[in-house]
């Protein structure tokens, strides 16, 4: 004890210093909370009742709480909960990081979603308390009942067919030796580069009432593409690329040893397919089903364009919220959309987290070509060629459409449509502002969260990961509705600002950036950072010279992914933009509904060119093909 005595004072002082830092931190946080709290919750005097005595009118006032006490309570909880962990209390930097992440997710993920539920269970805009009145109203509207049924039919059909075709195409393009695989792979996923509703627009150009193929080529007059068949067709074109990417990633990384071992032990090829190959790709297949289901039920542009009056929940929600301005009914519709999506997400999350086997190991031999009998191989090849050729014709028609006078009637070349784009320059500027800001900020947020979730250890990490990933399962329409409900009124008035749109895009696309970031970090051996520190570099220098360069590819991939998704989004945009912040896609959609096909084609063509250029930049920066970028 005596020997240790001289050491003690120093120890105490270091612990005291730590405590001082900690106390200062808590003080600052409390001040911030009080500041934010007083902004979010205010007590206002409102008129209670009037009394007229003679010619004297007395107005009685009462105090009323306005704002969101519940949100403040959540924010306080978000600050307080991490303090319960001793580990976090010892590391102030990590503590603040965790608190920041929790606060951000509460503000921009949980609260808007909660608001959808809160408003959906209200009787009216100014009526407090729980009520099922909205749902009674909804289900008394035959339109809504039909829309619910239609949405499920479209969602399930699309998810099933998209995954089936996606699996076949992914198998053919990763594990067989058919020719032109490189080209086919790029062409099959082409629809990723445009807003989904550009697909139905192009389909109408080709198969519509005056479509080149149906009317001019085949002379069919009595067939209509408008209706559920058209929606399913278009949704398939838009979701197959995603299914192909998700599933081929697994096929490509599957070790061939497993299948060989199974065959070696006496398994006939079909038996091996059933007992080994298929179970190993099951998680990817579920992910594909989930994402194509959510994509097709939340999409709003395609059913509006090609639905021909076929009602879906997303279109109904748009009508109720934007045209009728009935927020509660819109929220109730949003809930009808969110519930199946969340259930599907939870199911998929449960199954894939329990049974995810594809691990990239150094020694595994992967991507082995399977020998297939010709009668299987060539039909599969035909399917891929058909899809690729169809996409080429589809996008070709947009560019041709933009260059002719009036598609369907007058095919003389003209520059008029391109000139028509000049009116949309302000919207293009708006879209660029939003997409670039969302891209860069979203990239930073993704890398920050990936560092927190992928590299650090703290209690509640899984919950944080889950909340950040949950947005993947939320239809874009509901994201729009939730943000309007949460931040439309006092004290925010954020609706119609760039801020709300940017934030919505950042958090909506966070799951992809987060996964990319975590995957990139896993590939960085911690000993690289240790080596840098060991050689005398400071923590800051280590980060700027070692860690960030290694992560920069993931960062840029995240930035451009969010940029492209922001440039092409319509579902959330229609709810969140305003006259002042009108976005290019919204303008383009209106032109498609109201103007000539050729004028609209010019819009779509411009957007596609912008996206192809940004993809070019990306593959220069990261050295990856654009197919890799969309891998989830």
């Amino acid at each position: 004890m005596v020997d240790n005595a001289p050491v003690l004072p120093q120890r105490w002082s270091s612990r005291q210093r730590q405590r001082a830092v900690f106390a200062a931190l808590i003080a600052v946080e409390i001040l911030l909370l009080v500041f934010v709290g007083t902004r979010l919750v205010q007590v206002q005097a409102v008129e209670d009742y009037r009394e007229v005595v003679g010619d004297q009118e007395t107005i009685y006032l009462r105090n009323e709480v306005v704002g969101d006490p519940a949100l403040v309570a959540l924010l306080v909880l978000g600050i307080a909960l991490p303090l319960a962990s001793r580990r976090l209390r010892r590391e102030p930097v990590l503590l603040v990081a965790v608190q920041l992440a929790i606060e951000a997710l509460i503000m921009f993920v949980l609260w808007p979603l909660a608001k959808v539920f809160v408003e959906g269970f209200k009787a009216g805009q100014f009526v407090e308390g729980f009520s099922l009145v909205q749902f009674r109203t909804l289900f008394q509207m035959p339109m809504v009942v039909r829309a619910t049924k239609n949405t499920m039919v479209i969602g399930v059909t699309t998810a099933f067919l998209s995954t089936l075709i996606g699996t076949l195409v992914a198998y053919t393009l990763t594990l067989t030796d058919v020719p032109w695989r490189r080209w086919l792979r790029n062409l099959v996923v082409l629809p990723l580069i445009s807003p989904p509703f550009a697909v139905s627009f192009a389909i109408i150009l080709l198969f519509g009432r005056r479509g080149v193929i149906t009317y001019d080529l085949l002379g069919i007059k009595d067939y209509t593409i408008y209706g559920p068949q058209g929606i399913i067709f278009v949704q398939l074109i838009s979701t197959i690329p995603l299914s192909v990417l998700i599933i081929s990633a697994v096929f490509a990384s599957m070790s061939r040893d497993l299948e060989e071992a199974a065959e070696d032990l006496g398994g006939h090829p079909l038996y091996v397919l059933r007992t080994v190959t298929f179970p190993l790709v099951t998680p990817a297949i579920l992910t594909s089903v989930l994402l194509s289901f959510i994509g097709s039920i939340s999409d709003f542009g395609n059913p509006m364009l090609i639905g021909g009056g076929y009602q879906m929940l997303a279109t109904q929600a748009f009508i109720q919220m934007i045209e009728m301005f009935d927020l509660q009914l819109g929220a109730a519709l949003g809930m009808l959309l969110i519930i199946p999506s969340l259930l599907a997400f939870l199911l998929q999350h449960r199954i894939t987290s329990r049974r995810s086997y594809v691990t990239v190991t150094g020694g595994a031999r992967t991507g082995h070509v399977r020998k297939l009998p010709a009668w299987i191989k060539w039909p599969l090849f035909g399917l891929c060629v058909f899809l690729a050729a169809f996409n080429v014709v589809l996008y070709g028609s947009i560019f041709v459409g933009a260059a002719v006078k009036t598609w369907g009637f007058d095919y003389t070349l003209t520059l008029d449509n391109v000139r028509g784009l000049l009116t949309s320059v302000p919207m293009l500027k708006n879209s660029m502002i939003v997409a670039i800001s969302a891209g860069i900020l979203g990239g930073l947020v993704s890398i920050f969260l990936a560092w927190l979730i992928g590299r650090q250890k703290f209690p509640g990490r899984a919950a944080l990961d889950f909340s950040a990933t949950m947005m993947q399962a939320i239809p874009g329409t509901v994201v729009g509705i939730g943000y309007i409900l949460a931040y439309n009124a006092a004290p925010y008035f954020w609706t119609g600002t760039f801020f709300i749109i940017i934030v919505a895009y950042i958090f909506r696309r966070l799951p992809v950036g987060l996964r990319t970031g975590i995957a990139a970090q896993k590939q960085i051996d911690p000993s690289l950072e240790e080596a840098s520190l060991d050689l005398g570099a400071s923590r800051l220098r280590t980060f700027t010279h070692i860690t960030f360069p290694l992560l920069s590819r993931a960062f840029f991939a995240g930035v451009i992914y969010i940029f492209i998704r922001a440039m092409t989004d319509l579902s959330a945009a229609v709810f969140l933009n305003s006259g002042r912040t009108q976005l290019f896609t919204v303008r383009m959609f209106r032109i498609m509904v109201t103007s000539t096909p050729s004028e609209a084609a010019a819009f779509a063509a411009l957007l596609i060119v912008i996206i192809i250029i940004s993809l070019g930049v990306l593959s220069k920066v990261t050295g990856k093909s654009f197919v890799d970028l969309f891998r989830i």
Partner: protein
């Protein structure tokens, strides 16, 4: 295992495998007698794994024939062959329990449930894995995974067992133990085996015969003793151990042996050189040489380096004509090391088993 294994010979006849322009296997003929274990040994890329994969049915030979138990299996798919392979990374199915992994081959053959259960449990017992049935493969240690892979292969009663560098993922101590176990098991069950490795020591300790391969060709097939004492050429001599290969002058050659001169000394070989007219060399094994203080009768040399490994002390010495020799001294006396630069005498063996060339 209660049922006896039926076993079969393997015959490879002029086997070729080309990948594009690369001749991975370039005309291999080899017989593995029933019940024996043959090692395919060679540097990476020599075609040993490709040969094994052709026996298993994973690669189709470009030319040549494969017979197992006299039946031509050259064009037979893997699942129809009486072979079972133990993979380098074990290839255990990650989505199945240990028990399901072991039962896989029986279920694939649609054996009745009771029989599947009985045989799978026997195999697990044989590999000392009871109690592990319900675990999933990633929960097991490397050595246990290795045992599961073996149990899974043995349970289907293969006529031929194939091993593709099965021990390369284990640490050095476990590797030595597992190879002993594999050898004991193979002997006990009397099962014909082909074992691929690039580790000379592993091959020698486990095999009845070793086939040394290089650049797609079979260089020499023989027992470990034959390969070590009578290497067919420089490559084999070099590959089966650190060797000093020194050119010699043939003094006298007859059917019952030869006399050669090297470093001014005379050495007797029990076998004559196969090509007395050409360049003849002698393989001087490091452990057959000795260094002593400068004395008459030895070859004068100087110590270049010394490395002490515990059981051995390895000197490299330079003979006066510039030739560098490695000399291994077993049981070294710690008080009598020769420092670098010390002049010494190298004592050559009086007799060697054979000559090169």
């Amino acid at each position: 295992m209660s049922e006896a294994f039926s076993t079969a010979s393997i015959i490879l006849q002029d086997l070729h495998k080309h990948f594009g322009l690369v001749k991975a296997v370039d005309g291999i003929s080899l017989e593995v007698e029933a019940g024996t274990l043959v090692c395919l040994l060679g540097p990476s890329g020599c075609g040993k794994t490709t040969t094994l994969r052709m026996i298993g049915g994973f690669e189709e030979p470009t030319a040549g024939q494969i017979l197992i138990g006299g039946d031509d299996v050259t064009r037979m798919p893997p699942y129809a062959r009486p072979t079972a392979m133990v993979f380098q990374n074990y290839a255990l199915f990650p989505h199945m329990s240990v028990y399901d992994n072991v039962a896989y081959g029986l279920r694939a053959r649609r054996r009745p449930k009771a029989e599947v259960d009985k045989l799978a449990r026997e195999a697990l017992d044989l590999m000392e894995l009871p109690g592990q049935e319900k675990k999933s493969p990633p929960q097991l240690s490397g050595g246990q995974q290795q045992r599961v892979a073996l149990a899974r292969a043995l349970v289907i009663r293969p006529k031929v067992l194939l091993f593709d560098e099965p021990l390369s993922n284990l640490d050095a101590k476990l590797r030595v133990r597992m190879r002993g176990e594999i050898r004991a098991l193979q002997r006990r069950l009397g099962i014909t085996s082909v074992y691929v490795t690039h580790d000379q020591e592993e091959a020698f300790s486990i095999a009845d015969r070793v086939a040394i391969m290089n650049a797609g060709k079979l260089i020499q097939l023989g027992t470990p003793r034959e390969l070590y004492s009578e290497p067919a050429d420089r490559f084999v001599a070099d590959f089966v151990g650190v060797s000093n290969i020194v050119p010699v002058e043939v003094v006298d050659s007859a059917a019952d042996g030869a006399t050669v001169r090297v470093f001014g000394q005379t050495i007797r070989s029990r076998r004559p050189p196969s090509n007395p007219g050409g360049q003849v060399s002698v393989v001087l094994r490091p452990e057959a040489l000795r260094v002593e203080k400068t004395a008459d009768g030895g070859v004068p040399a100087r110590v270049l380096t010394l490395a002490f490994t515990g059981p051995l002390l390895r000197y490299t010495v330079a003979v006066d004509d510039g030739t560098v020799l490695a000399v291994d001294l077993p049981n070294p006396d710690p008080d009598h090391f020769f420092a670098e630069g010390t002049p010494v005498s190298v004592l050559l063996p009086a007799e060697v088993p054979a000559l090169l060339g």
